[in-house]
Symmetry: C2
Subunit: 411 residues, 2 copies
Amino acid sequence: MAVNLVIPDRTAVHSVAGVEIGIASAGIRKAGKKDLTIFRLASGSTVAGVFTTNRFKAAPVQVCEAHLALTEGTTNIRALVINTGNANAGTGETGLNVANQTCETTAQLLGLTPQAVLPFSTGVILEPLPIEKIQSALPRAIADLSPDNWFDAAHSIMTTDTLPKIYSTQIKVGEQRITITGISKGAGMIRPNMATMLGYLATDAGIAAPIMNDLVKDLANHSFNRITVDGDTSTNDSFILMATGQSGLLIQSKQDPMFETLKQALTVAARDLAQKIVRDAEGATKFMTIAVEEAGNSAEALKVAYAIAHSPLVKTAFFASDPNLGRILAAIGYAGIDDLDVNQVKLWLGDVLVAQDGGRHPDYLEHDGQRIMKEPEILVRVALGRGLTNETVYTCDFSHEYVTINADYRS
Amino acid sequence: MAVNLVIPDRTAVHSVAGVEIGIASAGIRKAGKKDLTIFRLASGSTVAGVFTTNRFKAAPVQVCEAHLALTEGTTNIRALVINTGNANAGTGETGLNVANQTCETTAQLLGLTPQAVLPFSTGVILEPLPIEKIQSALPRAIADLSPDNWFDAAHSIMTTDTLPKIYSTQIKVGEQRITITGISKGAGMIRPNMATMLGYLATDAGIAAPIMNDLVKDLANHSFNRITVDGDTSTNDSFILMATGQSGLLIQSKQDPMFETLKQALTVAARDLAQKIVRDAEGATKFMTIAVEEAGNSAEALKVAYAIAHSPLVKTAFFASDPNLGRILAAIGYAGIDDLDVNQVKLWLGDVLVAQDGGRHPDYLEHDGQRIMKEPEILVRVALGRGLTNETVYTCDFSHEYVTINADYRS
């Protein structure tokens, strides 16, 4: 029961010059499931990524970070290998060996160095990843490489997602038409014993290696780092930006007048892919945007936004379409801003001003709140009256279905 | 469906010399419900309290803090007035006036100053508290004052609690037999639009005013400040310690050899009353003790304990009796200890060592985990390998019933 998750037609998904995708079935967890996906990037592509901050970092994440650090200018990554069905997390030294072997086999088959390959895994955690199944399926995935496989890849990286998540657009930057296409997966930070949110965003614009790291962090901070379903940060979260340069457009520095245009377009793409994860979240029936304004700094804005977004009481009230203002005010109050003056706080549901001066707005009518709460997409807006910083976080409600999904014994 | 919540017989609840309790029906929210409770303390009693840290602090909490601060040595508090049905929170200036009027009327009727009265409210928030109903019921509550009303008071302070919460004991401290009796209420940090956990603990031991504040904080840090149901800190949380001195025992300082004995006994009492709130938590089917050991300091031990205790994924796994180790390890990993070495972490379910060296223990058998998870009381023990500090937090699982209760439209 995803919330307003739009899937483009297969024909509306643009291939990205310089990116080929191949898909195969390795039978990692279920026989016949397409569970192995490989990206091959043209020479000269730049790549950067952001990864989970969880200290129980999955083996493939550790290998990705090492390979991206090794390539320094981030220009030498040429392939990505993604398996579903097993997260290769909580697997110790053995898991690291398996992730490295995946890179080695891929490198041999494609004529690359192992350090040019990034591995990704998603699925069951604390189980050994069967490397031999991946090794035997890799040649079939490579034989399948084609620029036109984005739509199918959005499906082959799914685990317990109910719908594929794809974004694709073409825009003009200066005189140059460029393509931006991306896919993501995830339906809650962790599914029943299934870990990981993954996001892959590619453009045929060229972006010089030295600015890629800052750019991917900036994109993540406006998209994948601003969504939450249950506050549980997985062991495998990864978001990768790839720029092939095949369109002819090349951005050399942040001072380039076209950098901002491209960044805006990439931000829209990353945010769309991130929001799609929330729209398909476990048991979600509502999509909520929590906008905190007039904060003294970004950290305190996010404290308030996440206090609201993580409160089980707020989330169940949204599930019930109950404009339970007390729960939202209480969450603002315990968010951890020690010198918050509650008399300066204003709260809106949609366009309705519901609270100010430390309590309910005198003109507030319950049925106005009710009207907003019945919508499938709801804006909660808080003004703190402390400064000029704004932050926005995206989340969903908390339903019976969430408990049902997560209380199912692992199967 | 409270978890192993033991209610003593009425005859096993000892009155506390110097404490009288009166109960009446004010009809604040429901006609006929006993919703007004008054404590009268003998002259010479000492009183101290700890209160919510929520910035949207309820009016009665603000008045309590002011009156306790005014009395400096905390020797002049002589009465407590508690109403259910309305929390007098999010009510601005009007709410403060109402809380002060409650104190004034009580003071007039008992021949005290208003500053000798502490007001408490629990119930609906963001609604005006009908002061006239309280004022007209106060004489009836006062007429009811008796040392033998503890058992009934445990009922009259309930809102959506399913069971009353009472602890009572008599012990010898030195040569002196003393009594400790307490009651608490709360069933989740906030019920559907119902706020507040309240705790009242009294002894006929005498405790000198200057050491009361430290003592009540210490007790709270081993009891009411170590429980969590959903992480939502209410606007009204209050815990009050009262020492009448009527037994003849008087503790003058922390150096008194009997101080530790009394403190231990009071800690047991406070912890029991706090745990009873978790046992009666919204939809709880399991009672979980999260013990974090070998931490570098208290703050990091609590970070890990609360990350586990607040994870909806961990809580739903406990509901399902699913020994889902990956979720617990992931919660430890994202708890916010940046330099945590996961290879040093050990995890036990009950007496079963389930994880070490960054992954599952090689000898761990799923059916051993299953056996523990099926119990109604479960110990989760984590050793961080970083130092000598231990902290323990108490929580419950997350069930369908929780969503049902909290998604009910306010009624």
